[in-house]
Symmetry: D2
Subunit: 359 residues, 4 copies
């Protein structure tokens, strides 16, 4: 078993990482670390708020042995005490601490701090595994034994999976999209106000649209040997917040390079990802994409857990009435599973097996 | 005071019509009619369900004098007993009964039955008042003393108001839009299931997208003397249902014919509708459009009652990063006020004053 | 493996029964039956509504082999073709059909049709297993080879589990309770209206309070050899519906016969049910009751899945400030698991093993 | 017009006070004050958060002339510059500052700081107006020209109105109650977390039950000439938070001294408050209590605005099946209108007219 440390363990993504790792066949949670405020307590106590109420937000039970683990201080954490670091810190501390860890140890990160570096790939399971080779460039450039491998923004995690088979078969020319995003993406303390979200929609998510409009081109880009050449299509987005717990929905209007029918797109999506599934990574679903013919689906509450929260559900694929080579569809992905901790874990599994070859 | 009859009075739109007419300076509710099932009862009793619970759904109190009014049978209703007919029936009975009424009496309708007839305008307050002249063509064609004037689909009621100043100043070339629609649009008995809508989004509304993709071109078209020539732009839409009571939001990506900046668009919207406001119709708001600079607005629960539910709130106007001459924004309108009974009432007021010249 | 038939298989409780039986170590779903309308179709097709949308409401996937099973007509179903009948019909058809089945075959029922018969126990897992002996009386009285064993009302399923250790240790004298019930209890087609339940509470559930005020006394009563003598305490209830998907909460004010402290009650609850747990029934949880010290718990969304939806979560146990020997607490149970299909399945497991001795 | 100052003007209750005072026939908002952080800005700017978004949370528009008013520092505010002070500060600053103001000026307060002082009444409109005489004792005791008159806890504001006619006619012996409280009671920054409240119930509100279990006895007590002798009944409560914006519901089980029927209670409630209504205070409703026969009512979303948010709606009055002289019912009151700013304003109106005799 490989020893893994979760840094930022008390936050909501850290908690999801813990849940994702319970009973994992390859990884064992060896260490937990968080900010100075939590350091020195055991994990269960570190989660208690001022009222004595537990800030353990997962519906899965906190395993007793994790609750009893000591929480170390992230800023003084010794990365050589583990084989893999799973960083779920905010972008600020990630920027500072992840490079220190990466000198010696591979870092899988859910933070955005290094996503836009030219020697750093944004790996999305089954979509751009060949970009993992850029990590060697990063290691060489920076003189690191380890590396930093960040996950993508959670909103586009599902979109890029749905775009990849379209890109492969027909080429992507342009994407216009509106997202209807779940509240868990805004975190928990304090997160969104109940008075704002009840019976309401908030049509703005600070900082979101710029990420959504640039990350997919990198993820779907081409590894040149030295960096990633962005894919040559544009995205325009409006990102909204809806009163849903988990599950980001994207209403996409896609123009392809070559003409295609909804049936063509459906077939491409359903055939997609077989090679990746055959790697049998523990966190990978049987299908990367499920296409539903029910016009009322996908729905966040009904479909987000598809494939253990790792399958993207696509529905309403139809010909666009006005856009040239236009296809429109709706896709849904679990923002805190595929789009966060579990998606990053899947990447960790891939890298451990196929890049580090430790399994 | 002009005598008005509400046909379809027990339904949710009929109820809203009643509320909109309480204390109206020009119109007096003289008659109520509904289906055979309700006919013969007084209105209050006609609203009782099998459990004895009232199906009066407005938060405004039902006035005692309305509650005591008898409900007549719509199929045998005498249209000459009133000056104006306000029809809130479903499309089926509207198709059959509205022409009978229109032989003698002006009919303002919230149903879609006659929207797509070539001699029938779809009037939206302040947007296309010159289309009222088509009613004379309709009257001549059909040999009616009265007419049928239908309101638009509720989803695009706000969109067309926001597009009109853009069309006037810069021309509209193309619209890509996603709607986030409130549940009241689906009616009440049974309406949507609570189990479907709780903590969820349903990405499909049967029959909605075709209306959304065709009505705006007619509403924003040109009266030729004999019919309406549709405006020459295309719309593509995805319509979704969100857990909101009232207030349809549209996330619009608009390409204009002439280039324009977000500031230009804001100015055009804010200057828009002054002539119409000066008619001082009782149901008209002071501003047809409010533009907000708060990036988190408009929000359905906070902004739907703007201008008594008759003002369209527009926010997040910004330059599109990829579309040629592209502007994106979010607009919100009250679907059961501007988009239904009160919007139709505003049209009735306009027609009574400026077309029929009864005031 | 014992062959089980699910009668009423297309309804929401029937669907939950299917989900609860997937991978069951003792039972195999051998037959599905429903009303005439569904009979003759395969199960997947029987679930399709007029729009072609599936009325499969569980978030768990419908197994392909179940989807392909034929649906038989409940009214002509041959009960001898299976070993156990799991009836999830409504009370009306249950009243008529269950006795026909019971002539030859054991019937576990989620309907209320036979709950109040003097020769019929209302079995609740771990609470009154000795009442199973009343089934022999029923069989003798009615000349049945099989029997009818109904589950309790879902609202009191959790309450009686929480009351049993109090009754055993201190005696129960009186219960005043308010329930905050989830929407799934009202079924699905059409179920509750989204417009009624959004941002609202409905303080009435037709027919609920009389059941709540009488079933617990029978469940906690004493088997006399011929019937059940009701326990000698009174219950008064107000039952409300809240905008929650699953999980019925009860705020209970309990007066005991002997004085006791909150600590006493907590201890009694935590020690409760060990014998029952040792039977290791497949659907039984490790603990029948979990007592939480977090004052903000139990919460429906966070705690309903406790113990696979079969553990009752109790919190806020405190001394009542005014009632003699008064204790107040809040308890939560999953209404469609413990309170419906899975609770009935647990009873079936008990009866198969300990009454029928087939395992 | 009397000059009124709103202290704590930027908070949610202060905002509601502003809305309640728009167009008031007796009072003019002369001054606004808040904490040091807001002091020196105009009101509109003081409401802006770090994102530039307005924290004006009322759906009513902020009047331009109020937006332009300067905000003074509450700690140095000159109380002699106005005729009446409306304090909506939190308990901490209220404890310190209200006595300073009261030296010269009458203070109407929504804070709990002085509620439990023996020389201070808790006035609830129409319930205990004779307790106003205790203010003279307070003034004498403390050597104040002004006084402090606090409103009650918002949860029991509706309950005490419903109990008063019962007390008058039959005597109240004991109350067992569960509240289902709206989220607005928890304030706005940050208020409750959307992730906690979505599709959930939280069965605990810190500090609430002790207030609920003691204030009604004082409010319904007897003025002795020197203090209030508490009414001689006990209350036990469980207070829960439900996903509702506004409107606190109480499910009450009341035992009376003399026996009475539900019809008796209904009649007593419907006849109640006529004297108070005849004072024609601007904020008073036509009826203090409305009794509904619809078993599904009252509902928060449908009934909270009854009487401009100042009428208590009572439903489901029925005989208790087990409690001696027991009646059970459900009552609903608007927590931020009757239970907060507007209720306090009604008290201010009463005191200005009948105690200070300024009108």
């Amino acid at each position: 078993m490989l020893r893994i440390a979760i840094i930022g363990a008390t936050g909501i993504v850290g908690q999801q990482a813990i849940v994702s790792l319970i009973g994992h066949p390859w990884f064992k949670i060896a260490k937990l670390a968080a900010s100075e405020r939590s350091a020195g307590k055991n994990y269960r106590d570190a989660l208690k708020d001022a009222n004595g109420s537990s800030r353990w937000w997962c519906t899965e039970e906190l395993p007793a042995e994790i609750g009893n683990m000591p929480v170390e201080d992230a800023s003084t954490f010794d990365p050589t005490s583990v084989d893999i670091i799973f960083s779920t810190m905010d972008a600020g501390p990630a920027k500072e601490l992840e490079p220190k860890y990466a000198k010696t140890t591979p870092v899988i990160s859910t933070a955005s701090a290094f996503r836009y570096e030219s020697d750093t790939p944004i790996l999305v399971g089954g979509v751009n595994m060949d970009h993992a080779a850029l990590l060697a460039v990063q290691q060489k450039n920076r003189g690191w034994k380890g590396f930093i491998s960040p996950k993508s923004n959670c909103t586009i995690a599902g979109l890029v999976v749905s775009l990849k088979p379209i890109q492969d078969a027909f080429g992507v020319k342009q994407v216009v999209m509106t997202s209807l995003q779940a509240m868990s993406g805004a975190g928990r303390t304090p997160g969104l106000s109940a008075m704002d979200m009840m019976e309401n929609v908030v049509p703005y998510i600070p900082g979101e649209e710029p990420k959504v409009e640039t990350e997919p081109q990198k993820i779907l880009g081409k590894f040149t040997g030295e960096t990633i050449a962005d894919a040559a299509f544009g995205i325009t987005a409006t990102c909204t917040r809806v009163p849903v717990i988990d599950g980001h929905m994207v209403c996409a209007f896609v123009q392809t390079v070559k003409p295609c029918t909804p049936e063509d797109v459906k077939k491409a999506m359903m055939n997609y990802g077989k090679d990746f599934a055959e790697l049998h990574l523990p966190s990978s679903p049987a299908h990367l994409i499920d296409v539903t013919d029910d016009p009322f689906r996908p729905q966040p509450r009904m479909d987000r857990e598809n494939g253990g929260g790792m399958t993207v559900t696509v529905g309403r694929i139809r010909k666009d009435p006005i856009l040239e080579n236009g296809i429109k569809y709706v896709c849904l992905a679990h923002n805190t599973k595929l789009g966060a901790a579990k998606g990053a874990l899947q990447t960790a599994e891939y890298l451990v097996k196929n890049y580090l070859k430790l399994i």
